[in-house]
Structure formats: structure tokens, C-alpha cells
């Protein structure tokens, strides 16, 4: 069945059918003309090689920058963590020393207070000792 018959069967209006037939004839004519032409293989010359090189260089810089930034950030965080840990240890040590000092002071005060407390029965004797000390 020819295209003309097919178009008639598909109940197309004459304008559309005519256009489609002309289109087919045109494509066939073009294809036949191009198909018969001899062709020569041409070496593909790449233009804009510098663009490719620049693209690669930029890409490398970006990748290196991203990787370097990541490594630096990781290292920086590790350093910060170490410093924070050292600070915490120092604070703990100072706090422990402070506590120890306070305990010693407290004990000394208790000793002093206890040593000064004299039972009332011994008061005259204590006065005598104080007078002897004064002499």
C-alpha cells in the first residue's frame, strides 16, 4: 500500500496528506543525494585544548583545596581537643591542690582550737604557766 493510499485510509485532509507526501519526497531526495556523495575522513582537530587544561587545573586545585581544608580542619579539631583536655587536667589539679590546702588549714585550726581549750579545773595551773612565760 502506498503512502497516498495509507493517507486516504487515515482520512486525512488533502492539505496534510500533500504536505506529508512532499515531506517524504524531500527526505528521500536529500538522503539519496547525500548517500551518493563520496566522503573523506578528516582528522578531528581539537580546538580549545587550553580550555581543557585549564579545566583540569581548576579541578585539581579545587580537589586539593577541599582535601587540604578537610585535613587542616581535622588537625585543628584534634589540637583543640588536646588543649581542652590539658586545661581540664590543669583545672582538676588546681582544684585538688586547693582542696588539700583547705583541709590542711582546717586541720591546723582544729589543732590550735583544741590545744587552747583548757578544762576549768586546770585553769589556775594554766594561768601560772602563762605568768611564768611572761616572766
Amino acid at each position: 500500500m502506498s503512502l497516498e493510499d495509507k493517507l486516504a485510509n487515515e482520512a486525512m485532509d488533502s492539505g496534510l496528506a500533500e504536505a506529508l507526501i512532499n515531506f517524504r519526497l524531500s527526505v528521500h531526495a536529500w538522503s539519496d543525494a547525500e548517500f551518493g556523495k563520496p566522503r573523506t575522513a578528516a582528522k578531528i582537530v581539537r580546538h580549545g585544548g587550553w580550555r581543557l587544561a585549564a579545566g583540569w587545573a581548576l579541578g585539581c586545585v579545587l580537589v586539593a583545596g577541599a582535601a587540604g581544608g578537610g585535613v587542616f580542619e581535622h588537625h585543628h579539631q584534634q589540637e583543640m581537643a588536646k588543649a581542652a583536655a590539658a586545661r581540664a587536667v590543669q583545672q582538676q589539679r588546681l582544684a585538688a591542690e586547693q582542696r588539700a590546702r583547705e583541709e590542711e588549714d582546717l586541720l591546723a585550726k582544729v589543732d590550735s582550737d583544741v590545744s587552747r581549750e583548757v578544762p576549768s579545773a586546770m585553769e589556775p595551773l594554766a594561768q601560772l604557766m602563762a605568768e611564768d612565760d611572761a616572766k
Partner: protein
């Protein structure tokens, strides 16, 4: 030559088996001979179908060089898979299917490599519309026909990839709907739907410019 009533013997393996069984003289036929027969068959297929595949690809891409490249790729692929072709469909349908897939792959790759400055040699619609057989037409009729062809090209340009393929197979390659369905791997209903939309677009283009 393996052409009978316009049909190509598409099954080299079966053909060689028959020949080998024919007589004792042929029992010495080696594998190399079978391959030669297959190659001859393939050569016939190339000669018969290359213009049609080229035409379809040319109409699809409007790029002569690209159409030529894809045609060569199509036949290279077909040659590599010739042994596995079982002849369930016609060679034309099989080749057309390869061509359609190659074309799809090409456009997909182009889309994926959008950053690359790719040169396209697609001719513009005016140039594509220039081609018309001389025939017995007056200058006025030629002009009118050229204008119609340009409008159809304009509509084809706006079609989706699938619609364009179906449209070209139907109205340029004059394939039946069932054949188009086999070539594209779509159902006949889907082919009809795509075709209907494509024709509606062409009709609108023709109607709008009148």
C-alpha cells in the same frame, strides 16, 4: 546470492547447516566456509538496507555526518551480533531497532556531557526543506511544496524523541504500525497514540501558518 522474492535469507547458521547436510561433497565444509557464507549474507543485508537506515538517521538528526557515523555504528553492531540474530523479525526491523537505540544513546550522551562544547552539524530547516525532486511541477508548486516541507520539519523539530521516531518510520519509511511497534519495542496502541499526537502537531503547524 541469497535473495528470493525480495527477502533475504537471514539465518546464516541454519543456511550453512542445510548446505552441509546436502551431500557428502559438502561434508568437508569447514567452519571458515560457514563464516564466509554468513559474511556474504551480511554483505547483502548491508547493501539492501544501508540507504534506508541512513535516511532514517538523517531525518532524525538532520546531520549528515552524524547520520553517516551512526549508520556505520549500526552495521558494525549488527555485524558483531549477526551470529545471535535468530530471524524472528525481518533484518530491517532488527537494524532499525539498533539504529533507534544508537540514536537514543547518542542524545543521552550529549545530554550527560552538557559541559562539553560539541559541534553540531545539523542543517537548519530552510536547508533541509530545499530538497525536492524536480518532477513536473511549476515554480509556484515547487515553492508551495517547499513551504509545506519546512512546516513539517518545524513540527517534527518540536516532537518528542519517541513521537519523532514513530512519525518518521510511518511517513518517511512507510512502515506498518506493527512493524513500527517491533522496531521501537512499543505496543501498537502506544505507537498509534504517539503517531496521533505527532500528526496533530503537524496539522496544527500547517494550519497555523496558512
Amino acid at each position: 546470492m541469497r535473495i528470493a522474492n525480495g527477502a533475504v535469507n537471514l539465518h546464516p547458521v541454519r543456511a550453512s547447516t542445510k548446505v552441509m547436510a546436502a551431500g557428502t561433497a559438502l561434508e568437508t565444509m569447514t567452519m571458515a566456509t560457514a563464516q564466509e557464507i554468513a559474511a556474504q549474507d551480511f554483505s547483502t543485508v548491508v547493501t539492501t538496507h544501508r540507504p534506508q537506515i541512513f535516511r532514517f538517521l538523517l531525518a532524525s538528526t538532520r546531520d549528515v555526518d552524524l547520520a553517516e557515523t551512526l549508520t556505520q555504528e549500526c552495521f558494525l553492531k549488527a555485524y558483531r551480533n549477526w551470529g545471535s540474530f535468530r530471524g524472528e523479525s525481518s533484518a530491517m526491523t532488527w537494524l532499525m531497532r539498533i539504529a533507534i537505540n544508537l540514536q537514543k544513546d547518542h542524545w543521552r550522551n550529549r545530554r550527560m556531557q552538557f559541559w562539553r562544547q560539541t559541534q553540531t552539524n545539523a542543517v537548519d530547516l530552510d536547508e533541509a526543506s530545499e530538497w525536492l525532486p524536480n518532477g513536473e511541477r511549476s515554480a509556484e508548486q515547487q515553492l508551495l511544496a517547499r513551504e509545506q516541507v519546512k512546516q513539517v520539519w518545524q513540527a517534527v523539530k518540536g516532537l518528542s524523541e519517541r513521537q519523532r521516531t514513530v512519525f518518521l518510520l510511518r511517513y518517511v519509511e512507510e512502515q506498518e504500525l506493527s512493524e513500527i511497534a517491533r522496531s521501537t519495542g512499543l505496543s501498537e496502541g502506544t505507537v498509534k497514540a504517539h503517531l496521533s499526537r505527532a500528526v496533530a502537531r503537524v496539522r496544527a503547524e500547517l494550519g497555523g501558518k496558512r
